[in-house]
Symmetry: D2
Subunit: 347 residues, 4 copies
């Protein structure tokens, strides 16, 4: 049994980790920390976990995280980088669901997250947690910076078209028009995500620039082996879970000649958590609600040179906690699907 600790168990990625790990056959949940709620049973805050999670929140001091095999950080940005070194030195693997170990350039990190990076050496070592892209590196890693929710969906949607220098689309001028459910904003008390503010409403936000924009371009450029440029426009949608990315890319001549549907099907055939839909499909976010699957459909309207790629995922599962469990499975040599065989909840 893998001994697991969770730092920051009161947010949505935390409670989602608890939902998944509480049924994971190879995991023993050792500690969930929350300085503010220390002593309270986790299931008192989240009654959905009654009967499934018996432990209480503990202070970081009491949690004895160095005795764990792996620690997940489901915390605000900046927490993991302050605690990772001690854990790593104690032989504990670290999986950060926040952004501390995503952007490889510390200056870029500072620009977007408004804080200095406190351990740039670890940043250099950290592996980007997106298994479909770098499974092998994850298997050998001791420190993971999990891919963000939007970046996961956009990178999966473009992966088969650009990896390893492939030139099927123009690699600048890509557009990712993305729509997220409100849980993506986290479980923080804020006026903008109140029910009475965000229900029966739709809006774009951060059009000028969003933190996930440099992450997406860094990821795509790494996949491609050359710079990829993309405009990312996120939107807030009145639903709890789910991301729908609508990606627009211009086909090159090579791309127009290719069988893109087949390309996607073959690329993801062996992937347990990526489902390429039949040609002509429009995947719904609810078709992956609660599961670690991303579903992708590829369209070429009017048989023109514009490719429209539709990607849906559950932002809290494949976009965060579920993918981090997938990563943990890889790091510990477990079957990738352990603890993640959930059938989506529909309706």
């Amino acid at each position: 049994m893998i001994k697991v600790g969770i730092v920051g168990g009161t947010g949505y990625t935390g409670v989602e980790l608890l939902r998944l790990l509480s049924r994971h056959p190879d995991v023993e949940l050792k500690a969930v920390t929350s300085r503010k709620e220390a002593g309270m049973k986790v299931s008192e805050m989240f009654p959905s976990l009654r009967g499934h999670v018996e432990i209480a929140f503990s202070t970081p001091e009491d949690a004895k995280l160095t005795e764990c095999d792996v620690v997940f950080f489901a915390t605000p940005h900046g927490v993991a980088m302050a605690q990772a070194r001690e854990l790593l030195e104690a032989g504990v693997k670290v999986i950060d669901l926040a952004a501390d170990f995503r952007l490889k350039d510390p200056a870029e990190f500072t620009q977007w997250y408004a804080m200095e990076h406190s351990c740039t050496d670890l940043l250099a070592e950290a592996v980007y947690g997106l298994p479909e892209v770098n499974r092998a590196a994850i298997q050998k890693a001791r420190l993971i910076g999990m891919a963000g929710c939007y970046p996961t969906s956009v990178q999966l949607g473009l992966l088969p078209l650009i990896e390893n220098g492939l030139q099927l689309i123009e690699t600048s001028g890509i557009i990712a028009d993305c729509k997220s459910g409100v849980s993506g904003a986290g479980r923080k008390a804020e006026v903008g995500t109140l029910f009475a503010e965000s229900s029966d409403n739709f809006k774009a936000y951060a059009v000028k620039g969003h933190r996930h924009s440099p992450e997406i371009m860094q990821g795509l450029s790494a996949i491609h082996g050359a710079p990829v440029q993309l405009t990312f426009v996120p939107h807030l949608t009145p639903m709890i879970r789910g991301i729908h990315s609508t990606i627009y890319a211009r086909l090159t001549e090579a791309g127009k000649a290719a069988d893109v549907q087949k390309l996607f099907e073959e690329r993801f055939a062996a992937e347990p958590f990526v489902d390429v839909m039949p040609a002509g499909s429009c995947p719904e976010t609810r078709s992956v609600r609660g599961s670690n699957t991303a579903r992708i459909a590829v369209h070429r309207p009017g048989n023109g040179d514009l490719l429209v790629i539709l990607v849906v995922e559950d932002n809290l599962v494949k976009g965060a906690s579920g993918q981090s469990v997938q990563v943990m499975n890889l790091m510990f040599g477990l079957p990738e699907q352990h603890g993640l065989d959930v059938v989506p909840l529909l309706p």
Copy 2:
């Protein structure tokens, strides 16, 4: 033109007052105060008001409220009682949408709102703002404590059965099972009313006791002229606006002999804002969305001795801001419907 000031314009009752008053033919909006947002245009915070409300928030000091004819308090509990005396002494009428002037017993106020009442003499003078019950007193009043949202719906639903000593139902053991949209909780940043917490969810709250419980019983007892006892259980419903009260009362022998449908129709025939639905109806909250109307239907399942009364209202209009405009119209001798002739928004 009536010169109007609003204290506290950043909450839902405030913006709703602005929506209604901006089109009121007899009103000139002089000031909207918000210490925190002073200087910001009101329509910058609420773009729905662009083109309708041109003024900016001002500090209480700059607002010159004593030069107004009437001041509305759309504030947290406790604000109006601190400022009412100065305004009244300057000849300004005061309409408080919060609870400062609702409960007649200062001890009861302290028990439920956890603060001392600072002007019990004004409390004694204040008139309860529920026009269908005490229109005449409102017309002569200079200080109004507006009825709460739940209390408005419950009192309207029971009024014809108990007023002036009428004994058509047993006046103890009444049950009011009420359901409110999330805007009833106000525009405060709180975890419990986040979209991701309150959407696709339903729960009761404050079952042990809710502040509106003593208000309802005080009101019903005043209407009846003798004590009325009722159990009030509020529930949170995943919608923005609307209250649906399902009221259960036992008919007396006199009540069983009465034509209750006709009683309701006649009682409210002249009321501009109470609509008695045809027998057998189930009013929907959306049928009053955005309007000052309450709709009522009366049922007697299986022709037994239990009366089931269904009342719907828009909690922000008839349950708060709209009713306060109705009260203002009465205080200034205007037609009661001025500024309130809005057709409900459906769908």
Copy 3:
């Protein structure tokens, strides 16, 4: 492995059965019938099942249901009673999720469902599918009429107070004010349950009389061993899943003297799918979303003689498909929780 057939797999109880059974360790899914969709892969209609359910819909003729061990009917009322005899005679157990085998009195069935009962002998034999009430009978049964969604919640909420002649509450004059998500209306094309009609809206319906009313009273009377009378008022709530029943009952002198909280805790201590919440709790429907658990809280406002019982369940799981799997487990001597160990999805 139990060979399972499902008649009527295109509605919400059907797809929910598929979600649960596809992961049941002891089940082999043999056939899902739909005359209209025969030949179409089940996962084409419900993409959430891609990778989990591989079979296609088949006609009733092709389905070879008589070769199954058990057949579930997730059909409109009237279908199961037309096909049950043939299956039973072939040695197949039958579990009907519709109402054909709920009401013991054929005349009452005709009154509420507007059709003659075609096999009253089987009706007499059928066992009511509510395990917490009649587990032993279910274990021996070959034909089950599953409890309805509302009736499950109301009976569980009153069970400890009245079973076996217990007189802790007055057994007439009980009120069940129930609120259901829209999935309770089924997956039928109807104007009233369109998103644009039922979203941001709340209403009561069937106040005059609802089919579940006689079922609830039949069930409670059987539990009590004497007639129980109750008024049932259902309401439609803008959420997908979930029932919240708020039950009001008058305590007898014996009831007032009893420790009701303890009574509930002890009564359900051994029940795997009933969770009695700590005193003072208000269970949320989302706390059971997707799971077979019902959560109950008991209140006595003001320490008076009115008991307020709050019960939440997922109407498609404990209120329908999940409970039918629980029943199947009992009928086949399996652990009651097999295939039902799902952690609720929150948020």
Copy 4:
């Protein structure tokens, strides 16, 4: 007073017309037809209209539409073209909210709407109902084909950039990623738009081709005076009302040199129903809920060559019924805002 008839008053554009026209100071509502509901009071079907609309549905025969001054068709496609000639010959003006008179090419109409056009001469005469584009023609017209909901938002968003041959953006390769509330699908009983299907869900649809695509390109090309090519991808959003169009266009060198914000502000300065938001804004759909206003914001992320234009409108008001009242006002020489001075409902 203008005598108004409405053909097809049971859908969402019909009830929305009734909401607006019932308060229009210059309108007398003469007839609302519905063969199916003839004899039923309109307010019985739509209780929101109780006290505002007193007439009943009538059959087309009884409606005496030829005695009206103007008839609105709020009907399925194909109805208006069958009845328009008789009305026009009787001197009645005709405003069709459906698509019969939108596409100028009868072959294109047949391709997209799967029916022959029955009066191509009237089609040639019909004026496209988008006042910001062709106000003068509308003022003189007797037959209007109202702009569709999506096309209104997309054309308004691009108008200042391309009209009269202006070359500020590349006029091929434009992308309109549009999101609509569910009321856009109409008040028809269909599984796909049930609450339990479309709530908490997001999806694209008709990616291969949507009827509004040729309408948008026809409109833009007419505005530009030369062909404009655009890819249109609609999405279904879990809200009742509202369209949010996110439009992506490449700036030309001239466009890069232009002050686009100022261009938009000046172009729409005199338009009563188009509101250009301050630079940097992200308009919300709820900011126009229930009103005839479209709000537009223009972004140029990273100061690059991609322009991102955000447009919100209420699909039932500016996208349909409200705009048709605006058109009626123009046709009858009334102030354009008569009957349309509604403050948006927020929250």
